[in-house]
Symmetry: C2
Amino acid sequence: MATVSKVLNDASGAQIAPATRERVRVAADALGYRPSAIARALIRKQIDTIGIILPQGNVSPLRSTFFAGLLDGILQAAVQHGQHTMLFTGHVWMDAERSLPAYRDGRCDGFLLLYQRDLDRIVPALLDANVPVVLLNETYDDPRLAAVDVDNVAGGRTATEYLIALGHRRIGMVYGTLFFDFARGRREGYFQALAAAGLTPDPYCVGDRYTNEALWQNAGEHVGLLLDLPPNQRPTALFCANDEIAARALQVLAERGVRVPEEMSVVGFNDDLTATRQTPPLTTLQQPFEELGEAAVSLLLEQIREPGARGRKILLPTRLVTRASACPPPPTAENITQRSQLS
Amino acid sequence: MATVSKVLNDASGAQIAPATRERVRVAADALGYRPSAIARALIRKQIDTIGIILPQGNVSPLRSTFFAGLLDGILQAAVQHGQHTMLFTGHVWMDAERSLPAYRDGRCDGFLLLYQRDLDRIVPALLDANVPVVLLNETYDDPRLAAVDVDNVAGGRTATEYLIALGHRRIGMVYGTLFFDFARGRREGYFQALAAAGLTPDPYCVGDRYTNEALWQNAGEHVGLLLDLPPNQRPTALFCANDEIAARALQVLAERGVRVPEEMSVVGFNDDLTATRQTPPLTTLQQPFEELGEAAVSLLLEQIREPGARGRKILLPTRLVTRASACPPPPTAENITQRSQLS
DNA sequence: CTGTTAGCGCATTCAG
DNA sequence: CTGAATGCGCTAACAG
């Protein structure tokens, strides 16, 4: 029996006679024998499975195109590292004390935390319980916590600098909601780039402070706000906090008969699967989905191997992908006037 | 120890003194004790987990907006039934003999099969090995196999009949590819509806027989083919085999300056998350994602409970959702002429 | 009503 | 190099 175990696991350092090895193989095949992952996990105290935890909100994150890309990246990395994946959703963290134990029953060796709110409540609980965890695309300040994120501030700056370099001076931003951290970061980058160029965000920075339930509708209203400005004050470019908002902006612009990019440049963020499918194809900041997944899985495996270890933080850069939705502003008289006024 | 087990599992028929019950609860709490799902699974031979199997193609199904909806439906149902979910991808069925065992190691009680090709190879292997399985959104003829699908033929018929009822006579279909079954079904429904109205699909039914790798690009070419027809032969409506193709059609139409729906009606299929976000919002056939998930999970649990049972097949209807992308055809002279020619 | 016993299927000692 | 014994953490059957 022990011999069989060694053969089937290719146990290193185990010396088995080739003949025996063969005999085991044949027998196993004939019987259709499959080692039980469960029994093995029971004694190894490890099951090579990572859990992906999503909250279940009114708007399911599963439905977001950004999530699709991220999940794809994570799964690819997980497979490469020989890890299985479970998807957790529907657990409300409101009663963290009750939900938490569910994540300590040995089904998974560790967890990736996505789309979380109330991190103050979740993260310490997980950390105190010594559950290996990696936070993805969110920020939480605790030295014990491993995290991987994209540099949203730099991304926001890059987007804005690009528009400035194209010659835009009145640059709007539609940040959607500050519900999640990323929008705050991207907006900060936008502020930085404007400030460095001596430009002002007022009254061009619009969004909603409270919720992301009606993102699509709200984004439309926010874009509308900017379009309603008097022609000589209207922005000539729009930086949108993500590609969904950008898609909505393109829609509203089309409805209003504003040509993109001739009359209005649009830049998104994420490069999700819809970006290339817009009309015109979207200039946007690309999330490195594969690298994000790889980094997240690697960090998590580190945490699993060394449960006490200090959590590393990884910050990945985004990359500007220029497509057709942004170009220099129209050189109209007002525009020129405005430009000299501002600079 | 047995008492603890009974308390923690609320074992039915077990009579425990309230005082003892309380004592156990308190102790468990104090120790932060969590029963091991693994050990329990070892003896119960069941782990309350279902696996979702996707192939990993060159185009990851994870990136499809249709999958997002379906996954959401499945997960919702799984949670309601107290099931955990695992996501399997990256296993190539080409060597089914080697991959198959991976699905028999007890990690999951059963599987949902999505986006599969080469069903002839996979399904019998799974069935012979007595692995509980439900096929989703595909057709395979074996009485042992449980399956849930949407009635694609009826859906295709409904879409086409709707366009006919609006007054269209030259109705194109862009089916994309016959790579998957669904396109074949939807096309069949389209044929049926046309035939019933005495109309012909020639030369309006376009698509690609072989691959879905470059769906987006190919769909564009196919739409282009129809637009290149002489004006008096050009279709006045397009039925697209899914919303992605419809989105592409809208894009091409916009590029060509063809107004939707005034000059060209467009109907999609799926009602995925992008349908409402198109310009104009897409008239389409809605997949009942929640019901699909519920049916799939229910059938799978049936199979798990009764491993030998004959597999039930469930066929769910789609529902026409009328939005703004379809309307009656323009009453031009040629159109009227053409109409009388055809009917 | 509670505690004791056995064994789920494996990997890891340790003798042979 | 191979096989027998042990125990992972739990639940089911049973005896008290």
